[in-house]
Structures are given as structure tokens and as C-alpha cells.
């Protein structure tokens, strides 16, 4: 579904991704693990076109197009979604208003009728309840004053409403308590429909207990050095990243 070939990317003067190859398959959940600084966040930023990352070589093909040449909003309108590791706060911007605007932008792009305010509120309320979020999430300002757990749920809320096809979850489980983790995982699982692909970046295996990953990739020194099934996680837990290093 999305094919990343020989991706070289740098942040500032430092090259972080050094020829990364990864194929994200339709209907599958791909997990990326790796030590700090290996390039996991850089990979997610490269896919969505973050201004910090400069792609120097390689391509990311999706829907027959090289995504690297597209603006961030174009990539989003084409169905790429990133749940940020640290979602930023934007004071004064109403949460519901923002989300409806994003949904309308997507509908406009697809040539579909735009959801009106009343219908949108119904939709939002339904999802908020499902995610165990407080009803005032509708009227608060975007992430403004939200706790870590609230911010992550808000990211999943956006995902459920925007219905993207390529979903990147950057450490979606960090800082969550059990209840929040459950809600977030349920949200992700609800999105599994055999057509979407998921790229889950994580440090801890906790969330993997709730999702059923199909592939586990280890990112080291800017490249994918090993790919395996869920059993790879158990090995990592038991022996740490050195076990993999020895292997190579």
C-alpha cells in the first residue's frame, strides 16, 4: 500500500535515515521498534512531510505517487494520518470547529457533500463517548490544557472521524494509564477493516498486548535491520536490543 524505498533523510546537518526500505501492506499492522535516536520519529515525520526533516534520496510511493513531492495537507487529504508523540496546543481554536474544518476539507477533496455543524456534533459526541472522553472536549480549545492521556485520546478521536488509510501512531501509548490505553487501543482496533495499514512506533510492548501486530521491524542506524513476526517482541523484551545486534 505504501512503499518506502532507499529513504535517506536528515535533520539539520545530520543524516538520520540511511537508505531505509519498508513496505506497508494493506490491512496489516506494522510495528517499529528501536533504540532512541535510531530514527523512528524521523521516519514518521518524513512520511508526513514535517519541516524539520529533509529527504535527500529515495521515495515513498502511495497511490502511484511519490509522496515526498507533496505538501503536508495534500498527503493528509490523500489519507495519511499521524498521531503525534507530543500533540501541540493551539489556544483559542475550538476543538470541534477544528475537527469539522478538517473533515470538510477532506470531503471537499473527495467531491463529497460536506457534513454540516449539527450532524458533525452528533458524530463527535458519539466518538467522544466511545473513547471515554469527557463531553467538554467539544468546547475546549485544541489540546489546550489537556493532560497527556486526553491529548492522545484526542488524536485517536481525530483519526476515527477523518477515517484515514495510512495511519502512523508515534508512541501513542506513552504516558497513558490502563483505562486510557484500553480506550486508545479499542479506537485503533475499530479502524481495522482490512483496507487500512498501520505503522505503530513504540518503545514499550504494552500496547502490543491490545493490538495484534502482523510485522515487527527493528530500526537501527537509520535502516530496518530486521523484520519478523510478533515473537520478535518477546526476544527484545527478554534480551534487549543487543540480542538483535549480535544477530546481524
Amino acid at each position: 500500500m505504501m512503499n518506502i524505498k532507499n529513504l535517506h533523510a536528515k535533520i539539520g546537518d545530520k543524516e538520520i535515515l540511511k537508505g531505509l526500505d519498508l513496505e506497508l501492506q494493506k490491512g496489516k499492522i506494522h510495528v517499529i521498534m528501536g533504540t532512541n535516536g535510531a530514527g523512528k520519529s524521523t521516519l514518521s515525520k518524513a512520511i508526513v512531510g514535517h519541516y524539520d526533516v529533509e529527504v535527500t534520496e529515495g521515495e515513498i510511493t502511495y497511490k502511484d505517487k511519490n509522496v515526498v513531492e507533496m505538501k503536508p495537507e495534500e498527503r493528509a487529504l490523500n489519507g495519511i494520518f499521524l498521531s503525534f508523540q507530543n500533540p501541540i496546543e493551539i489556544a483559542g481554536v475550538n476543538n470541534a470547529y477544528f475537527l469539522r474544518s478538517a473533515l470538510n476539507a477532506k470531503e471537499k477533496h473527495a467531491g463529497v457533500k460536506e457534513t454540516n455543524a449539527a450532524d458533525f456534533l452528533k458524530l463527535m459526541r458519539k466518538h467522544i463517548e466511545q473513547l471515554g472522553m469527557k463531553p467538554d472536549m467539544i468546547s475546549r480549545a485544541l489540546n489546550d490544557g489537556f493532560s497527556g492521556g486526553e491529548k492522545k485520546r484526542n488524536e485517536i478521536l481525530q483519526m476515527e472521524i477523518l477515517q484515514p488509510d495510512v495511519i502512523i501512531l508515534d508512541e501513542v501509548d506513552s504516558g497513558l494509564d490502563i483505562d486510557a490505553l484500553k480506550s486508545v487501543s479499542e479506537g485503533i482496533n475499530r479502524m481495522k477493516n482490512g483496507e487500512r495499514t498501520f505503522l505503530v512506533i513504540t518503545h514499550y510492548s504494552r500496547i502490543l498486548d491490545y493490538l495484534n501486530p502482523d510485522y515487527v521491524h527493528i530500526l537501527q542506524d537509520g535502516k530496518i535491520v530486521k523484520t519478523g513476526g510478533p515473537e520478535l517482541v518477546k526476544i527484545l523484551e527478554a534480551e534487549g536490543y543487543q540480542a538483535i545486534e549480535k544477530d546481524l
Binding site: 519541516y51 503536508p72 495537507e73 493528509a76 487529504l77 494520518f81 501541540i88 475537527l99 477532506k106 477523518l162
Partner: protein, 477 residues
């Protein structure tokens, strides 16, 4: 952010730039006692008003024009301005108002026909220097509320005018106040009697039409004990090459337990990218909280005019009185704004709140200049100010100059200010959710201004938001 894209967003064409060809009665350019007589005669004023005008002119001739360091403008030639321009046909009812004028107002979206009013807003439209029929005056009269032009008030309610005019902004107050006192032509007069809450928004719409005329209106609003009124002032002007001067004076007085909410949405022609043309907006606005527990709040959205120089102020005389100032000032192209407020605390336990949001783009220069002064008598006074500036692009400027003075040990002043550009992170977040750069910038800017917009009466909040969009969004509407 690609700078060219942002510049496109900001330089959208001024939508309201058209003029109307109407037979006008225009005074020859120049400022002298004869012009004053001409104006006074044209308006059929009582003798005492002409005397006051002459006194003001003489005062003005002894004063020196002030110059603020931050503003840079072509000097004004006071003798080349015509101080009076009135459409020739004076109307008695809306039916008699010149068709072309009605059309001009329709183009601006201002409904003058009573029957067609959906919003229930009473409007007094000032076209060049004359108040074109005030709507709803009969309805208000039944409540004892006087809402008419200053000229009419001089004739019908001279005792009120004599008592209150110049009581808050005396003619000697500053250069432009003296000029205005001499040549003011018209404006709005409002009087709300004891205990009456004005049931509708009162609004005045100004428009400067004829070439080389300055607009010198004078507004006087008095609210007696326990009364309330919400008043809105909006403006627009056609595109002209020569600078036009707008030197208005607004005086507000609240007696015990009274309240005035004064909102301005200002969209004068800003001049072009080089700073040519555009309105000079030099205004003196002051509110006197004369009575205990009274309140005056100023809310302004300034997006137009070439040069803005105004400091709506509150003199908090009555104990427990409250003064508020909420402002969004946008400078783009080559606009310059030096605006802010003065909160003078005199009574005990007085409170003032200042929220100023400045947005500078292209080569705009935006300065906040505020004074919070606590006199020795103002025990227990409290002030809070928040002044934030948003910079869009590398060629603009945002400056904050607060003057904080306290002479009372039990008073408290708190001032905070931040200056930044639109956060790359915030903009990226919105774009990752599918919003275009233009929409993202707009959303963030609206969020930035939200606190101020929420102070506007609902009907005008919508207009203000659209005006902000107009000033910041890309394509011509």
C-alpha cells in the same frame, strides 16, 4: 512558510473601495473662522456652538502637532483640506434619501430600510459629514432614549449637549481634539435615562466619500444611573491617492451603576503596498466612569487605515468602577499603528483589564502604547494587562510600550506581553489534518484573537471575523 504565499494571503484587494457620485455641498479648502461660520450656518447651529468652535480654533492655532517616534508619515497640510462636505439633498425620511447614497450603503451591506431590518439594530449612517436618517428613533424615544445626530441634539436637547460636551475631552486636551472641536460636523448623540436598559444595539456607520475632505465626527454618549447601552461604530472609505484625515472625538460618560459597551470595527482604506493613499486615523476616545460601580468597555478591531493613532481611555473616577480595553489591531502592507489605551485609576477599588492582540504582516508596524496610572487616592486598585503580538513575515515590526505608574501602595498592576510568529509546529499540525496553509494560518490567527472577538456583540462579532478573514485570506472574495 513560503513567504510569497503568505504575502498573497495578505494583500487581497480592498473590497470596499468604490466612490459614489453625488452632488455635494463642499466648503472650499482651508481652515479659518469663515469656514467655521460656513459649517455652523449650514448646520443651522445655535450661536453658542459657533462661539465654542471659534474658541477651539484659536486654541488649536497655538498648539503643536505631536510626533510619535514609531510613526512615519507625510505631513498633513491642514489648509488644503475641505472641512465640510454634505450631500446636497437633505432628507426628511428614508424615502427622500438620495438613491445613490442608499445604494452605497446597500453595497456596504448596511440596511437602512426599517421594514427590511432583520437584526433589530438601530443605525445612524453618516455619509461624509452628515447623519443620514437615524432609524428606529421613534421606538427608542418611547423609552426615553435619545439617539440622534449631534446637530439635532444641539437643537433639540441643548441643555444636555452644553452640560456634557467637552466634559471628558476638553478642547485643549490635544492637537487633534482642538481641531475636532473647531470643525466637527456631525456625529452621534445618545442619552439613556435612569434605570433604562437600551434594548437594541445602537450602531453608526461612517464613510468618507468626497476627495480631500477629512472626517471630523464627534460622538457623545451619556448613560444615567443604572442605565445600559451597547454601541457599535464601523467605518470604510474609498480608494484615493491623497491621504485623508480622520480626527474624531468620542466622549462617554457613565453615572452610578451605569454601563457602556463601545465596539469599533474599523476598516478604513489602508493604502497600497508602498504606503500611498489610505486614511490617517487620529482619534481621541475617552470614557469617564463618573459614578460608583459604573463600567465602560472598549472593544476594537482595527484592520484598515494607513496610520492609526488612538488610545481609547477610561478615567475611573467613581469608586469600584471598571474599565476594559479589548483590541485586535492588524497591520499589513505598509500600515502603521500606534494604538493602545490609558487607564487612569482615581477612585477606590477600581479595576481595569487590557487585552491587546497585535498582528503584523508584510511591512506593517504595530505598536501597543498603554498607560496604567494609579493615583495616590486609588486604594485597592487592580489592573491586569496582556499584550500579545503575532508577526507574520520577516519585514514587519511589533512593539510594546507600556507605561506603568503607581502611587498607591495597596494597588496592584500586572502586565504580561509576548511576541512571536505563527508557530511552525501549530501550522504543521493543522496541515497534517488536511487544512491548507491559508486555512491553517487563518485558524491560528482567529484563535489568537478569540478573547477579543468574544467581547463583541454577536452581530458584530460575525462582521469582525469576516473582516479578519478578508484581510488575511488569499483570493479576492
Amino acid at each position: 512558510m513560503a513567504q510569497e504565499e503568505v504575502n498573497k494571503i495578505l494583500s487581497q484587494e480592498y473590497k470596499l473601495g468604490f466612490s459614489v457620485d453625488v452632488e455635494a455641498d463642499t466648503a472650499p479648502p482651508g481652515l479659518n473662522e469663515n469656514v467655521l461660520r460656513f459649517i455652523s450656518a449650514k448646520k443651522d447651529e445655535p450661536e453658542w456652538m459657533l462661539d465654542l468652535r471659534v474658541k477651539a480654533l484659536r486654541k488649536w492655532q497655538t498648539m503643536r502637532e505631536p510626533h510619535w517616534a514609531q510613526l512615519d508619515y507625510v505631513p498633513i497640510d491642514y489648509q488644503s483640506i475641505s472641512y465640510f462636505s454634505a450631500p446636497k439633498k437633505a432628507p426628511n425620511s428614508l424615502d427622500e434619501v438620495d438613491e445613490k447614497i442608499l445604494e452605497a450603503y446597500a453595497k456596504l451591506g448596511i440596511p437602512l430600510q426599517e421594514q427590511k431590518m432583520l437584526q433589530g439594530i438601530a443605525i445612524d449612517a453618516v455619509f461624509d459629514s452628515v447623519s443620514v436618517k437615524t432609524t428606529y428613533s421613534k421606538t427608542l424615544m418611547e423609552l426615553g432614549i435619545i439617539f440622534c445626530s449631534i446637530s439635532e441634539a444641539m437643537r433639540e436637547h441643548p441643555e444636555l449637549v452644553k452640560k456634557y460636551m467637552f466634559s471628558v475631552v476638553p478642547m485643549s486636551d490635544n492637537y487633534f481634539a482642538a481641531l475636532n472641536a473647531a470643525v466637527f460636523t456631525d456625529g452621534t448623540f445618545v442619552y439613556v435615562p435612569k434605570g433604562v436598559r437600551c434594548p437594541m444595539e445602537l450602531s453608526t456607520y461612517f464613510r468618507i466619500n468626497a476627495k480631500n475632505t477629512g472626517q471630523f465626527e464627534r460622538t457623545l454618549i451619556i448613560v444615567d444611573e443604572g442605565g445600559y447601552v451597547s454601541y457599535n461604530e464601523g467605518c470604510s472609505a474609498p480608494q484615493r491617492d491623497e491621504h485623508q484625515l480622520h480626527a474624531a472625538v468620542v466622549e462617554l460618560i457613565t453615572h452610578k451603576n451605569a454601563e457602556i459597551k463601545y465596539s469599533t470595527i474599523q476598516n478604513w482604506y489602508p493604502g497600497d503596498e508602498t504606503g500611498k493613499g489610505g486614511i490617517y486615523n487620529f482619534v481621541t476616545k475617552r470614557g469617564l466612569c463618573e459614578g460608583e460601580n459604573s463600567k465602560i468597555s472598549w472593544t476594537q478591531v482595527e484592520t484598515g487605515s494607513s496610520i492609526t493613532w488612538k488610545y481609547p481611555s477610561c478615567v475611573l473616577k467613581g469608586d469600584n468602577s471598571v474599565g476594559e480595553f479589548y483590541s485586535v489591531a492588524v497591520t499589513s502592507k505598509a500600515q502603521q499603528a500606534d494604538t493602545g489605551t490609558k487607564m487612569i485609576h482615581i477612585g477606590k477599588n477600581t479595576r481595569s483589564t487590557i487585552v491587546s492582540k497585535g498582528i503584523s504582516a508584510m511591512r506593517g508596524q504595530n505598536s501597543y502604547r498603554g498607560l496604567v496610572k494609579i493615583s495616590p487616592s486609588a486604594s485597592g486598585a487592580r489592573n491586569f494587562s496582556q499584550c500579545d503580538s503575532l508577526l507574520i513575515g520577516p519585514n514587519c515590526g511589533a512593539h510594546t510600550f507600556p507605561y506603568l505608574e503607581s502611587q498607591n501602595s495597596s494597588a496592584q498592576i500586572e502586565h504580561e506581553a509576548t511576541t512571536s510568529k505563527i508557530s511552525d509546529e501549530q501550522l504543521f499540525y493543522l496541515r497534517q489534518r488536511g487544512l491548507s496553509e491559508e486555512d491553517g494560518v487563518s485558524m491560528i490567527v482567529h484563535g489568537f484573537c478569540k478573547e477579543v472577538f468574544s467581547q463583541l456583540p454577536m452581530e458584530f462579532a460575525v462582521e469582525a471575523k469576516e473582516l479578519l478573514n478578508l484581510t488575511l485570506e488569499g483570493s479576492v472574495g
